[in-house]
Each structure stands twice: as structure tokens, then as C-alpha cells.
Amino acid sequence: MGVTIQDTELLLQFRDPATREKAFTAIIKKYQEKLYWHIRRMVVEHEDANDVLQNVFIRVWNGLENFREDSQLYTWLYRIATNECLSFLEQQKRKSSVSLDETESGLSNKVIADKYFDPNKLEWKLQLAIQQLPEKQRVVFTLRYYDEMPYEEMSRVLDTSEGALKASYHHAVKKIEDYILNR
């Protein structure tokens, strides 16, 4: 509840030209890490995550004045970040002119290329397993597993029914388990 009040206060400050930049800096500081990790799990590489995250905040700056507050700021930010991630991945696909499967294997290669990658650790196997998932299931799994987002809120972020989200999450967990056991 306190977080919601704080967001409301930040939004009030943002609407005042005198305190706009200060308020926006506070919003970035508050949400940058959460959004960064959400994006990073989707695009894998830090440089890509950095580009996407900066674009997300620029979009937020341009749209925040018209933000109607009929949803939480947190939900709205995740929605923008998810859309920006999916757009980025779509652009990558078009640039490389490869199929979805090849893109997923490309993301796995990026995981393996990380300087901290350790194939014997389950955390890394889990990352490889996540990259095998279709995009929608990947988003649902990371929002639920890492961000601990309730289905109700996820439904607002992804514009999908809670039932469909539960089914996606279920399929994702089963695929991940299968991947870890058989690789």
C-alpha cells in the first residue's frame, strides 16, 4: 500500500514541470533493477538489456503525462518493458532472417557465451531451458518464477486471461523439467 502511495506522489511531482526530472529519476531508481532483470532474462546479453531498458524509460517519459492511473505504475512499466523486449526479439529475428528455432538456439548460444557460464550449475541449466521456451511461455515463466507476479496482475500486463496464463506456466515448468532431466 505504501508503494502505491509513493508512486502516486511521484506521479504528482512528475506533472509539475519544476519537479519533473527529479521525480522521473526517482522512478528510474525505484524500478530499474526489476525491469532490467525482467529484460535481461528475455534478451540474455547485458548490452541488449541496457538498450531495451533505456528505450523503456524513454517511452515511459514520453507517455507518463498521459498515464491514466487506472492501473498501477508498476504494472504499466512491466507492460512497456515486455512489449519492448518482444519488439527487440522480433527485430533480431528479422535482421538475421532466421526461423524462431534458430533464434532460440541463438539465445542459448548467448547464454553459453556469458563469461560466468557454468554448465554444471543448475541455475545455468535453468537459463538454457528457459531459452528453449516459446516467447509467451518464457515471459509468463519469468514473471511468475522470478518476479513472483500474481496471475491477476500478470493478466493486466499481458492482456491474457488468468486461465491461459496458468496453462502457459504449467507447460513451461514441464518443458523446463524435461530439458534439465534429459540434457
Partner: protein
């Protein structure tokens, strides 16, 4: 905390293996990244907003300024920046020597020589032909035609109707093998019946000059035919016979019927009628049957 427990329970139920994996994301982040990010984002936002700047109130007076300049004429020379005064207006491009001297005679020849030519005196001759044609209509009308035309029309309208026009037909029916089946008077009576039917149709039309009986226009055909004498009827039929007797290739309508069609046609005639017809016109050469 409650949500987290719920998620853990849900995950453990789905897969104990996945539920047991640490939720720590193994990726690394450059040192100080999150500390610098707000400044970087704000810097990008600032550069985005300062890329194209317009002075305050620029668009408010823009239309007035443009209209004022349009009224004053084109852009005055003195309005150009001072640097333009130092630049010569001579074009820096070069043209091969004598280019225009060589080019112009070619153009002059083309200008004086039209591509399409007309025979000499064509238009003079053409105009005289047109003058004659103007005074002379292609179609000729007999002298006094239009003066007499109203009178002729009135006479035609006032004249009593004596007989309706009949479509001429061959009076002989031919068998498919070329042999004669019927000839002569049988068709005369058919023609009379057709004339009677036409008269009935014409005079039963609502605009016709007939007596009105209870809102339905009718015509007493039998009464009308009684007024026609036998002699007039015979004379009319003789005229029709000469038309019907014309060769087939000049006839406007021919009737080629085979044996079956003739039988079918005669099948509609009652035996009494046939008997009466045979008594009246039963000469051997009038009717050839098999």
C-alpha cells in the same frame, strides 16, 4: 510473502526439480551500472528533447509572417545573408565551345519544316467543295411534298378500314419427301379466321371505338362480318391467293411440315368439319392424302 509461498507450493506441485533450483539469476552486471543508469537515461531524454528546438510562440506568429511576406512580394535581395553578396551569379558549369552555334541551325531547320505536309492548294480546293456541299442536300424531296403532306395524312386517317394487313404465307403444305399434302382453299378459310381474330383483337382494345358493355369493351364480329358481301370476301381471298402462290424463295414466311405434324394439325379438326369441307371442296386435285 503469502504470494511467494503460494508460488512455491504451486511450483513444487508441478515440478519438485524446478522448485528446488535457486531463484538467483546467474548473469552478471557491470559494476556501478545501476548507479549510472538514471543519469544516462536523463541524458538521452535531454538530448531527445533538444534535438529540434522551436522558439516559444514561433508557430503563433508563423502564418502572419508568411502572409506578410507573400504580400510584400518575393524574398528581397537585401534579406539574403551577407555571404551571398560575395558570391558571383555566374554559373560555374562549362559548355563545349560553339555548342549553341551548332545547335541553333538544327533547331531552326526543324522549326521551319513541319513534319506533316499538305498538297499545294489543298485547302483552297477543299473550301470550294465544302461550299457546294453546303448548298446541296444529299437527299432530294419531290416538289411540293411537304405542302401536300398534311392533306395526305388527313385523307389516310379519314378513309374507312377495309381490311387488315395479312402476313403472306405459302398456301401449299409440303411433305418431308416433297409430295403435296394440301393445297388450295383450306388455307383461304384459315386466312379468313386469322383476319377475324386480328379484327377481334384490334377492336376489343379499350381505346377502340366499340360499345361498352358493363365496363368490358367487346365487339360483335359476327355482326361486322355479316356486312361484308360474299363477293367482296371472294375478291379479297383471290388477291391473297396470288400472294400465297408466289414461289417459296420470295415468301416472307414458309411452313415446312412433315407427315406427323400434318396429322397432328388435322387431329384438332372434328370429323364433321372435315366431312363438310370434303363435300364443299372435295375435288381430287385439291387434296392429296396417304
Amino acid at each position: 510473502m503469502e504470494e511467494r509461498n503460494e508460488i512455491s507450493v504451486e511450483l513444487s506441485a508441478l515440478s519438485a526439480l524446478v522448485g528446488g533450483i535457486s531463484r538467483q539469476t546467474p548473469y552478471g552486471v557491470p559494476v556501478g551500472y545501476f548507479g549510472d543508469l538514471p543519469a544516462k537515461v536523463m541524458s538521452r531524454i535531454a538530448s531527445q528533447s533538444t534535438t529540434f528546438q522551436v522558439p516559444d510562440g514561433y508557430f503563433d506568429g508563423f502564418a502572419t509572417q508568411v502572409l506578410a511576406r507573400i504580400k510584400a512580394g518575393s524574398v528581397a535581395e537585401e534579406e539574403l545573408p551577407p555571404v551571398f553578396s560575395r558570391i558571383s551569379r555566374v554559373m560555374p558549369y562549362q559548355v563545349p565551345e560553339g555548342y549553341f552555334e551548332e545547335l541553333s541551325p538544327v533547331l531552326a531547320v526543324l522549326r521551319d519544316k513541319p513534319v506533316y505536309t499538305v498538297p499545294q492548294g489543298y485547302f483552297d480546293e477543299l473550301s470550294s467543295v465544302l461550299t457546294v456541299a453546303q448548298d446541296r442536300s444529299t437527299y432530294q424531296v419531290p416538289d411540293g411534298y411537304f405542302a401536300e403532306l398534311p392533306k395526305r395524312i388527313l385523307e389516310t386517317v379519314a378513309a374507312p378500314v377495309t381490311a387488315a394487313k395479312v402476313i403472306p404465307m405459302r398456301h401449299e403444305l409440303m411433305r418431308s419427301d416433297g409430295g403435296k399434302v394440301l393445297k388450295g382453299h383450306w388455307w383461304k378459310y384459315s386466312s379468313v379466321a386469322a383476319i377475324a381474330a386480328c379484327l377481334l383483337l384490334i377492336f376489343s382494345w379499350p381505346q377502340a371505338d366499340t360499345k361498352n358493355t358493363g365496363g368490358v369493351m367487346t365487339l360483335d364480329v359476327a355482326q361486322a362480318l355479316q356486312k361484308v358481301s360474299d363477293r367482296e370476301m371472294q375478291a379479297y381471298l383471290d388477291d391473297q391467293h396470288s400472294i400465297l402462290a408466289e414461289p417459296a424463295n420470295t415468301s416472307t414466311a414458309t411452313l415446312d411440315m412433315n407427315e406427323g405434324e400434318v396429322k397432328s394439325l388435322l387431329g384438332e379438326v372434328s370429323d364433321d368439319d372435315l366431312q363438310q369441307y370434303m363435300e364443299e371442296h372435295g375435288k381430287a386435285d385439291d387434296l392429296a392424302t396417304n
